[in-house]
Structures are given as structure tokens and as C-alpha cells.
Amino acid sequence: MQRLSEFMVGLIFGVGLILSGMTDPAKVIGFLDLFGKWDPSLALVMGGAIAVGFFSFALAKKRTVNFFGGALHLPKNNHIDKRLIIGALLFGAGWGIAGYCPGPALVSMASGQAEGITFVAAMLVGMIIYELAQRTIHKPRITD
């Protein structure tokens, strides 16, 4: 039951991404092109998602366990540090170059699109590079 529910949540999320236009890189770049011909659609994606999310997280903060009785993993890290800023800058620049963020890229890969597959392969390599660097540096870090 729990497994089916996780699958359904992934499915709803993916359908939302496709319907919203997030899986079309040209549309994402149209939104990021603030100084050209600007397509504000993705601001509505954010707005719609947060309108629903706001109430559910307000509810989640009052609870101690999830629906299935397990732990509720709410992030405890409040640190605003160099890694947060550098990471976000790097991500934002990559997002602006290709028009893909991780979720829509995975959906494009699943639909068999060569560009999506290429992007995801590089993204996985990037994530592995991060993991390896993390281990070499051996800095204890506060996880989200």
C-alpha cells in the first residue's frame, strides 16, 4: 500500500510537471528571459504549488508521525552558508543554459528523448562527483 502510494505521488508530480510546461526547456528559458520576451507561466506553476503546499506543511508541522505511522522528516537545517549560495548559483546557471531542472529532466529521459537522456547522464555524473569530493574532503556536514 505504501509502495503504491509512493508510486502514485511520483506519477501525480510528473503529470503536474508535464501539464505545467516545465518539461519544455524553451518554455523554462522563456520564463528566465526576464529582459526579453518574457513568458510568466512558470510563476503560476510556483504559485499554484505553494498555495497547496503552504497549508499541507502548516499541518505537517503540527504532526509528529506520517499517515503510515513512520517518522516525519522535516528539515532542521537553518544555516545560510557558502555552500547553499554556491550550490544554488551553479544550479541556476545550469538551469538557464539547458532549461532543465532535475524533475523535468527525469521525465524527459523516461519519455526516451535523447536530449533528456544526455542531460540526466551528465547530471548523475555531477552528483557522483559531488559524493566523491564530499568523501575526500571528509568534512562533517549538517544534513537537511
Binding site: 509502495r3 509512493e6 505521488v9 511520483g10 501525480i12 510528473g14 503529470v15 503536474g16 508535464i18 501539464l19 505545467s20 524553451a26 518554455k27 528559458i29 528566465l32 528571459d33 507561466s41 503560476l44 506553476v45 510556483m46 499554484g48 504549488a49 497547496v52 499541518l59 505537517a60 508541522k61 513512520g70 516525519l72 522528516h73 522535516l74 528539515p75 537553518n78 547553499l84 549560495i85 554556491i86 544554488a88 548559483l89 544550479f91 541556476g92 538551469w95 539547458a98 532549461g99 532543465y100 531542472c101 532535475p102 524533475g103 521525465v107 524527459s108 523516461a110 542531460f119 551528465a122 547530471m123 555531477g126 552528483m127 557522483i128 562527483i129 559531488y130 559524493e131 544534513t143 537537511d144
Partner: protein
């Protein structure tokens, strides 16, 4: 100047609401933050008792394009437009992979869930990657 020709307020808003519903279900039912880079990165490498929920969620996400095209009216599905070359897709993918892991989140984790739960850390991250995205598209579209 607003690009009215590509503006899709209703589809984007409804897609956004679905994304919000998925995030709400994930935190309330499963006690997890719906953040794609974190869900995916946690599988590199997979850890005991912490891999199944990630995989079932991702399988649901991968099913989305097939379910969407089965449900959508004929001709609704538009081919995504991708302007980036394969070289740039690889560069961007590496940046997104490293950046989202280093900064602990992407558009879903920081942008949707973080802002929904009023996290200052996620607000700073979201502001930073948005500004980086705007600046990158300004450079690639209007300076070169």
C-alpha cells in the same frame, strides 16, 4: 515585454496545483520532502532501508509521460523545444548535478517545499538560483 503567445496561465496553474498536491501527499503520507535532487542523490550510492521509497517514487515519475499522453486529448502533447547543443546539455547537466547536491536542493525541494514551509534558507536558495538563471539567459540570449 510579456510573451502573450506562449503564456499558458491555466495549464501552468493546474500543473502547479498538481505539483503542490504531490508535495502535500509526500510530506503528510510518507513524511518526506518532495525534492528531486535529494531523492535521486540519496541513491548514489543506495543505502539499506532507505532506497525503496526513492525507487518507487521515481518509477511513478517515469510513468508520467506515458500516462499523460494516454489521458491527454489527441494533438495536445507538444514536442518540447530544446535549443542547447549536446555539449551545452552536458555542461549544464554537470552544473545542475553538482550544484543541487552542494546547495542541498533544487526547484522542488527549495522552490516548492521550502517556500511552502516558510524556510528562510530555502527562500535564499530559491532567490539565488532564480537570479543565476535570469542572468545566464540574459548572457546567452542578449549578450552573445
Amino acid at each position: 515585454m510579456i510573451d502573450w503567445a506562449h503564456f499558458t496561465p491555466w495549464a501552468s496553474l493546474s500543473g502547479g496545483v498538481l505539483i503542490g498536491v504531490a508535495s502535500a501527499l509526500f510530506i503528510l503520507l510518507h513524511g518526506r520532502i518532495l525534492g528531486i535532487s535529494g531523492i535521486l542523490g540519496g541513491l548514489l550510492p543506495p543505502k539499506a532501508n532507505d532506497a525503496t521509497w526513492r525507487i518507487t517514487f521515481l518509477l511513478g515519475l517515469f510513468a508520467a509521460p506515458f500516462v499523460f499522453s494516454a489521458l491527454a486529448p489527441a494533438g495536445y502533447m507538444q514536442m518540447p523545444r530544446i535549443d542547447a547543443s549536446y555539449t551545452m546539455l552536458i555542461v549544464a547537466g554537470l552544473m545542475v548535478g553538482i550544484g543541487t547536491r552542494y546547495g542541498s536542493g533544487c526547484t522542488s525541494g527549495h522552490g516548492v517545499c521550502g517556500l511552502s514551509r516558510l524556510s528562510l534558507r530555502s527562500l535564499i536558495a530559491t532567490g539565488t538560483f532564480m537570479v543565476a538563471g535570469f542572468a545566464t539567459v540574459y548572457i546567452t540570449r542578449h549578450l552573445f
